[in-house]
């Protein structure tokens, strides 16, 4: 593993991170009008305005302000909410775990359903089972997550009252209620993922099942289930795992609607609130965090790939 290569990749990573954070920062500052006015929207007095101006170093140039802000971020100062005065880092502490739980649960559920389905539809490719599963998968693929969410809420929460229609319960408070409150949101998000993963795995499995070593495993007298899951699944799962990993990055930013609909106090809800309440400083931080997370996840996956495939390593 050449250190020069690693060094080069890390430098690329840092550059991208800087650019992404810069863009997040700039987004807010491209606002038409005076930042102070935007933050205050008329409710501040002279003193508060001066205070804000000072805090944000509004006298300095944009680039200088960016580095100030970046410095703050790196030391854990994400700014504050101007309405309530609460520190963003505090809010993050409680909101981030909620969003992470949502993302992780979704991936787990999606994989747990998609993997057996992918294996079975590949095994029985061309049969009625396969075609109907594919059709259903297609349906779920096309189904927007909030559409599904509304259906789920109407039927299971309001109609049957099996689950709460919204709200969040902390795992430490009441595990059962926690999972009940997460169940519908996770289902709404996971449905689309299941479809994508299932098709991906199916496609790779069909190819793998034609390999010689599968015939060889059969010729050894191994039963179908063993051949499928112990011999065929592992070589076929690479693409699936890669996409699943990348999706974690995508989901982090994409679950806003679901969080809002189900009233989950995660980062998505915070973003919604901050945008609607003109809390631009907090918003900046959130966007930056999500962007950075996405870049880091992508980078790790890319990097792992290059470790596995010697050809890319020296490319």
């Amino acid at each position: 593993m050449s250190w020069r290569y690693v060094g080069r990749r890390l430098v690329q990573l840092v550059v991208v991170l800087l650019i992404v954070t810069f863009f997040s920062f700039m987004l807010i500052n491209l606002l038409p009008g005076d930042p102070v006015d935007n933050l205050c929207t008329g409710v501040c007095d002279q003193e508060q305005e001066a205070q804000i101006r000072e805090e944000l170093n509004l006298d300095e140039g944009v680039v200088q302000r960016y580095f100030d802000w970046l410095g703050g971020i790196l030391t854990g100062d994400f700014g504050r909410y101007y309405d309530s005065g609460v520190q963003v880092s505090q809010v993050l502490e409680s909101a981030l775990p909620v969003s992470l739980q949502l993302v992780i649960y979704t991936q787990i559920v999606a994989l747990v359903i998609a993997i057996p389905m992918g294996v079975l539809t590949a095994y029985r490719a061309g049969t009625v089972f396969d075609r109907s599963s594919n059709a259903t998968a297609f349906g779920f693929l096309a189904l927007p997550n909030y559409v599904l969410a509304f259906y789920l809420i109407s039927i299971f929460a309001l109609g049957l009252a099996w689950f709460p229609p919204g709200g969040y319960v902390y795992l430490s408070d009441n595990p059962i209620e926690h999972f009940k409150s997460m169940f519908l949101p996770v289902m709404a998000l996971a449905a689309g993922q299941v479809a994508v993963y299932m098709r991906l795995l199916r496609s790779d499995m069909i190819q793998t099942l034609q390999e010689d070593y599968i015939t060889m495993a059969k010729a050894k007298g191994m039963p179908p289930r063993r051949v499928l899951f112990r011999h065929a699944l592992r070589p076929s799962s690479l693409t699936l795992l890669t996409v699943a990993g990348l999706n974690v990055g995508t989901l982090i930013g994409g679950a806003v609607i679901i969080e809002v609909l189900f009233e989950l106090p995660g980062m998505g809800t915070q973003i919604f609130l901050t945008i609607n309440n003109n809390e631009y400083v907090a918003l900046q931080s959130y966007i930056a965090i999500i962007g950075v997370a996405y870049v880091l996840i992508n980078f790790s996956i890319d990097f792992t790939y290059s470790l596995v495939d010697p050809r890319i390593r020296h490319g």
Binding site: Y213, M216, A219, K220, G221, M222, R234, P235
Partner: protein, 365 residues
């Protein structure tokens, strides 16, 4: 069949099989036909093959690609895709195994019959360790526990002459050379002590230097275990010194079958002669031109009316193109079968009239 009943009396795989004398042939193949439905029509890959194989003997099946030799081996073993149709009977140790269920075949695999495939690069699962690929069969078929299976696997790796087996057992396939991989494949095939081994082009994908080693290895294991072997290849040179009997296939049929020395000394089929001419011989001066067989392989969907080889046969006559010659036994040498109206050798039309109209199943040798 429960696992317990499947457990063999043989504990160590190198104990030879001793069939009761006079119990009949190990393998009895009768009129086997296999065809596939494809977009362009029905492909008759195997078109009426009959032969017998005794325990401990080696049969070499030789033919070009497209002759049906690989399909034949898979038909006997039952490894065909569901789109294939088959006819004919296959008997193993007297039992009819022509049309078993998937589970039925699984009971046979590993313990009764086994196959070594052509390409060791693709026959081994790239993500599983070598040891695991061997011990899997042992544990599943012979009910061994982990320790036993590991020991047996080590013994097997030793038997196939892999250096440092204790280290290699934990290797992945890509860490081994082609020759070593094929040895591992052989070890996997032999693990549960099968009575019959199919070797489908076992050396084609290997270096020339390694080929002889692998073939020697197979022969040695076969002797030690008193195992029957069907050696399938396109190269007559491979089976020359290693088979008891050779069957030459063309267009899905056996066109000549004889004990090895008879085949070489008294070749009757023009096709066999052509195959022999294509083998480079050390006795020939270097840069001697090899005679390739002119013409194209036969169309298996619409085979020609007469003898399938007639379009390419230098001795073909009218009769050859009109009707297919049946496989018949030579009147001079018992056990020598060929399908030709005008065979080579000084016996001309006189001894070509068929003894029986259909492919015979007389003595195996």
């Amino acid at each position: 069949m429960s696992r317990q009943r499947r457990r063999k009396l043989i504990e160590v795989p190198s104990t030879p099989h001793m069939g009761q004398p006079g119990a009949g042939p190990l393998l009895d193949v009768d009129g086997v036909r296999t065809s596939f439905d494809t977009a362009r029509g029905r492909v008759k890959a195997v078109d009426g093959v009959t032969f017998r194989l005794e325990r401990g003997k080696t049969l070499g099946i030789v033919g070009e690609s497209g002759s049906g030799k690989s399909v034949l081996s898979r038909t006997i073993m039952g490894l065909l895709p569901s789109t294939a149709t088959r006819e004919g009977t296959v008997r193993f140790e007297g039992r009819d195994i022509s049309d078993l269920s998937a589970e039925g075949y699984r009971d046979l695999y590993g313990t009764e019959m086994s196959m070594v495939f052509q390409d060791p690069m693709t026959s081994l699962n790239p993500v599983l360790r070598i040891g695991r690929q061997i011990t899997e069969s042992l544990r599943y078929h012979l009910d061994m526990d982990k320790r036993e299976a590991n020991e047996t696997a080590l013994a097997l790796l030793d038997a196939v002459k892999i250096p440092e087996p204790a280290k290699r057992i934990r290797s992945y396939p890509h860490e081994l050379s082609g020759g070593m991989r094929q040895r591992v494949v052989i070890a996997v095939a032999l693990a549960c002590g099968p009575k019959l081994l199919f070797a489908d082009e076992p050396t084609t994908a290997l270096d020339v230097t390694v080929q002889a080693q692998i073939l020697d290895l197979l022969a040695e294991q076969q002797r030690e275990r008193f195992m029957a072997m069907i050696l399938i290849t396109h190269d007559l040179g491979v089976v020359a010194g290693r088979a008891d009997e050779i069957a030459v296939m063309y267009a899905g049929r056996i066109v000549e079958k004889a004990p090895t020395n008879v085949l070489f000394s008294d070749t009757r089929m023009p096709y066999t002669e052509a195959l022999m001419k294509a083998i480079p011989k050390v006795s020939q001066p270097s840069h001697t031109r090899l005679d390739a067989i002119g013409g194209r392989p036969p169309d298996l969907i619409n085979p020609p009316a007469g003898c399938a080889f007639s379009p390419r046969c230098p001795y073909a006559q009218e009769r050859c193109r009109a009707e297919p010659p049946p496989l018949s036994e030579s009147t001079r040498v018992a056990g020598h079968y060929f399908a030709c109206f005008y065979p080579l050798g000084h016996d001309r039309p006189a001894d070509t009239s068929p003894v029986t109209p259909e492919p015979t199943s007389g003595g195996a040798r």
